[in-house]
Symmetry: C2
Subunit: 286 residues, 2 copies
């Protein structure tokens, strides 16, 4: 299941329906619609501002309240005694995008996370088209933020990312939407994750690189996607055991081999005394 | 690497050297020497009291300060603004035991975590004897709490647990030490982990069970051990991917098949809205 890795593809609906134009959605808002954000103050401000412009409130979000997915930010939230709202949910930007689409299309906002709601049916159709795959019989479940999640082959995910990266062959309206989304992520890398997060760091580091940006996006359970707009390439990977500690290291190695990301990312494991006790690196040459 | 799963075997040195008798080590202290505790107030009190009786201070512990390994307890520690000390380290009881042994044997307390310190050499010898394995060429590293960690076959770990469970064939002094340790864990299940932790819950639930207690003990990276004193059986398992979410579920299934633990332990995964979105269960019959 692609989980959060495909939010940029899900966001196509927000642009294609005209909702993004109608509500004058900014780059930051469009990027956070594609994000698993860290609930840092900047993220909360963008989602809250967007909801206010839609004349909606956090209660209209149908994702649950939760702390930050980044441990240090979460500790700060606990320390501050801040009330955790639905805006804190790392998917709140995606949900704001769903709400904007529903409003613009005259669809009910309540229940927008249901698999039969037009917002979700529209996203499913886009996923099938971008992945080149029939998902009508695909296993489905419910994601951590409440929306439907549909199993799809890694190859279909990669094809979807490749089409985002090289949209020339897509219908003009979709190609324009893909370009607007990837440009927004490239312009607002902080919005996609967080200042200390791998996704944000890699996008920032590659934007002016020799082969163009790597718009990387993590998903739960070791899923990882990348849209390489400079090369016209899409990457999808999944770590069988669901561990992000491996997915980031493998993605970094793949990007390095492609000449897109120049850093070696092999995190040192440090114990409670601050002493190095191990290192995470790919076990096979990539 | 067996990580924390073998703390009860490591604790044999504390008893066999006479240190436990000399310092009148209580069941709670002996149990916490075998623990990966949750840094709950009860745990901190036992380790602090023990150190005070040894006329030592938390600074003599050579494990680093860290928060609780249990998320809810850790959030409470952050909220309270408590200073994290070395006593909070989940291994602090084991370290207090090492210090007691060094003191009793007239060995330097400083540097007791070093691989060449007599405390660690003694523990290594016991591991080899209990596991029936020569570890002189075994890969070694440094554990999260600073002590040496030595790779050993799962079979040797299981043999060590089986000998703890059925000590009749061991030399009398070791057999007595094994019995004292398992009795202490059985008497003080809260000390081994924490009130909401799987280990503590299983020990409590099985103590008066038809086939006797399952003294289960988790280790990092998906290692799990069990000493079944009623059956005279030892169990060692390791989840390849290092995930505890699997190790606890598998251990529960194995114990159920043995008739030791009667509960079915298949945790429901709940999303941020509190809705069930999945379940963790063994993929194969055990």
């Amino acid at each position: 299941m692609p989980r959060s890795a495909i939010k940029s593809i899900q966001a196509l609906a927000l642009v294609e329906t005209g909702a993004a134009d109608h509500f004058e959605v900014s780059d930051a808002e469009l990027a956070i619609a594609c994000a698993s954000h860290s609930s840092e103050p900047e993220h909360l401000a963008v989602v809250e501002g967007w909801l206010a412009r839609l004349k909606l409130s956090p209660a209209d979000l149908e994702c649950g309240p939760m702390g930050s997915i980044e441990e240090t930010v979460n500790a700060e939230l606990i320390r501050s005694g801040a009330e955790l709202t639905r805006v804190h949910n790392n998917c709140s930007g995606k949900h704001a995008g769903f709400l904007a689409t529903a409003l613009h299309m005259g669809e009910p906002t309540q229940g927008y996370i249901g698999p039969d709601h037009p917002v979700q049916r529209r996203v499913l159709g886009i996923l099938e088209e971008m992945g080149g795959v029939d998902l009508s019989d695909a296993p489905r479940g419910r994601d951590g933020c409440g929306i439907p999640v549909i199993a799809m082959p890694l190859e279909a995910m990669a094809r979807g990312f490749a089409r985002m990266a090289a949209p020339a062959g897509l219908p003009p309206q979709r190609a324009a939407a893909a370009r607007r989304i990837t440009a927004a992520i490239e312009a607002q890398p902080m919005m996609i994750a967080g200042r200390r997060r791998f996704d944000t760091i890699v996008i920032k580091a590659t934007t002016n690189g020799p082969k163009g940006p790597a718009l990387v996006k993590t998903g739960a359970e070791g899923v990882y996607g990348a849209i390489l707009t400079g090369l016209g390439v899409g990457i999808a990977l999944k770590i069988d055991d669901g561990a992000r500690r491996a997915s980031e290291v493998v993605m970094a190695a793949v990007l390095k081999n492609l000449g897109v990301y120049e850093e070696t990312f092999e995190p040192v494991i440090v114990n409670a005394m601050g002493e190095p006790v191990g290192v995470i690196r790919p076990g096979l040459p990539l």
